[in-house]
């Protein structure tokens, strides 16, 4: 009995450490600040501090809705996560992300996490929990999450397209010479600072991977409310450090490719994606993929500018996007089934 209790406690610590690792990786992989670094308005260190602080602020103050959805509300009545379920979810999500990285496809950690939860919960309901799989989920919430994955990129595309067209019609197209364009871009470079802070805030708030795990631990009684918020603050600090220590390389690399990019383009893209993330986080409390939204915002911008869109590459990306949910679900289900088969659970 004492051994089982200690084992469970160790697993909880492992889950918290993994949640910390995920928080760090959210900051480390966040390239939102790249256009700001490329614009050269602020010193690089200041850019990192601003971006990291905004992520941390968003994580602490606006993440609860999304975290509670992932950590509790997505499940059906009478079902709660166990530490083994959460462990299987994390292992599967991490494996699928590694596969994505090896294939060079920017996969969504949100999609792989929700997919993994789906697989684990279904296996739990069928083989371990004695629950009807049909009642294992709050299908309305899950449906809302999946629907938001399709709608958020589309809204990103349409929003960016329209925002660009409006700004172009009213302001940009009136700039005839390079001096005027440079002057207006200088102003946009400052507006970009605000847009990036706004975007980072919602990136932090919507990144539910780590906080969803912590909320699940809180909702099944493994963490107290004070413990939960304490770890949320730690996660926020780690996201800040992730961006400041490791994210700088991603940002620097991307920024070096964006030196020709106009701050006005960056402003429009970041503002559109931030508004969508804000709506998803505050109003609907659904976790969406920031990278998917950004990619579609960029496509929207290219379409508005009548630039070519690489549909071949996009098609390959789309296949991986669609595959992420079922593959992560199958993988997580198999891992959890392995736990059951070996009598670990």
């Amino acid at each position: 009995m004492a051994f089982e209790y200690e084992f469970a406690a160790i697993l909880i610590i492992v889950l918290i450490v993994l949640a910390f690792g995920l928080s760090f990786s959210i900051g480390a992989n966040d390239e939102t600040c790249a256009p700001l670094a490329a614009a050269g308005t602020l010193k690089f260190k200041i850019v990192l501090i601003i971006g990291g602080a905004a992520i941390a602020f968003g994580t602490i103050f606006f993440s609860e809705g999304v975290a509670s959805l992932v950590g509790q509300k997505i499940l059906g009545p009478g079902i709660k996560y166990t530490v083994f379920m959460l462990l299987a979810v994390l292992i599967s999500a991490i494996i699928w992300l590694i596969i994505g990285s090896r294939a060079g496809i920017p996969l969504s950690s949100t999609h792989s996490l929700i997919g993994s939860i789906f697989g684990v919960v279904i296996v739990y309901a069928m083989f371990s929990g004695g629950i009807d799989p049909e009642t294992a989920f709050n299908w309305e919430k899950l449906g809302g999450v999946v629907l938001s994955w399709f709608l958020s990129p589309l809204l990103g595309l349409v929003g960016t397209y329209l925002l660009y067209k409006i700004i172009d019609k009213l302001y940009l197209s009136k700039k005839k010479g390079l001096n005027e364009i440079e002057k207006s871009e200088k102003n946009f470079a400052w507006a970009l600072v605000l847009a990036i802070i706004f975007a980072e805030l919602w990136v932090g708030a919507n990144s539910a991977e780590a906080l969803g795990i912590l909320y699940a631990l809180y909702s099944n009684g493994d963490l107290t409310i004070i413990g939960y918020y304490f770890y949320v603050v730690i996660c926020a600090l780690l996201a800040f450090l992730g961006l400041f220590i490791a994210g700088r390389y991603v940002i620097k690399n991307l920024a070096s490719q964006l030196t020709d990019a106009r701050p006005s383009d960056g402003f429009i893209i970041q503002l559109s994606s931030a508004i969508i993330l804000m709506f998803c986080t505050v109003i609907f409390s659904v976790p969406v993929s920031h990278s998917h939204v950004i990619v579609f915002c960029i496509i929207g911008m290219n379409m508005a500018k009548k630039k070519e869109v690489d549909y071949g590459k996009l098609g390959k990306m789309f296949i991986f996007w669609v595959l992420t949910f079922p593959m992560a679900a199958i993988l997580a289900g198999l891992i959890y089934f392995g736990f059951i088969s070996f009598g670990i659970v």
Binding site: A38, A39, G40, T41, D168, S173, K176, G177, L178, N179, E180, I181, E182, E185, K186, A189, T259, D260, A261, R262, P263, K305
Partner: protein, 221 residues
């Protein structure tokens, strides 16, 4: 002639002002070079020498160049910085080609074979002069009106096309003269035509680059 002293402090001038000033200085030297060759046609060798030496010895542009370089590397306009720098270096290349041509032309004092040859050389020089003036105008328009800069560059390309036709006629004429193909006159005239065309070619490529910039920064409706 450009009076550089009129501008008291180049440090206070913008990148665009410095580029325009640099272009004016180089255009002024181009016009001197062209005028020098016109003196050569008229066999006014003193003025020919004077003009070409002016092109070689004038270093006023160095001051502008220095002020520009100090400014551009500190500039925070990263998105257009590289292009501004390239425009400046392309203007600088005109000076280099002009100086190279002037040095070459000073090696010998040629007497032109006949009036028709003189007339055609004068004609390509007329086009070259127009290209140089247009290019200066196009460079000045980059900052204020990219559509205008684009259109001027289209004219430059047209003028350069006309020059090419005359170049073939001149070469045809030159190769059909009854003269020794290793003679100094033949070689000098061949070098003169090629030198003028080299300068025109560079300015045409520069015009194309300005058009590239116009399409990059301005969305033509």
């Amino acid at each position: 002639m450009i009076d550089l002293d009129k501008k008291k402090s180049k440090k206070k001038m913008s990148i665009d002002d410095l580029t325009q000033m640099f272009m004016d200085v180089i255009n002024d030297q181009n016009l001197k070079l062209i005028e020098g060759i016109e003196f050569l046609i008229k066999e006014d060798f003193d003025n020919f020498k004077k003009n070409l030496e002016y092109v070689i010895e004038t270093q006023t542009e160095l001051e502008v160049k220095k002020a520009f370089e100090e400014k551009i590397f500190k500039s925070k306009l990263i998105f257009s910085k590289a292009d501004r720098l390239k425009v400046f270096s392309k203007i600088n290349d005109i000076k280099a080609i002009g100086e190279f041509l002037a040095n070459k032309m000073l090696l010998y004092k040629v007497v032109f074979p006949d009036d028709d040859f003189k007339l055609q050389i004068e004609l390509i020089l007329k086009y070259l002069k127009q290209i140089s003036i247009d290019l200066a105008d196009a460079v000045k328009s980059i900052g204020s009106d990219l559509t205008r800069a684009h259109d001027i560059c289209e004219n430059i390309k047209e003028e350069r096309r006309k020059m090419r036709n005359i170049e073939w006629q001149l070469l045809m004429r030159l190769w059909n003269y009854d003269m020794d193909y290793l003679s100094r006159t033949f070689l000098y005239l061949k070098e003169l035509i090629e030198g003028i065309m080299m300068l025109a070619d560079h300015m045409k490529k520069f015009a194309e680059y300005i058009q590239f910039l116009a399409t990059k920064y301005f969305y033509f409706k």
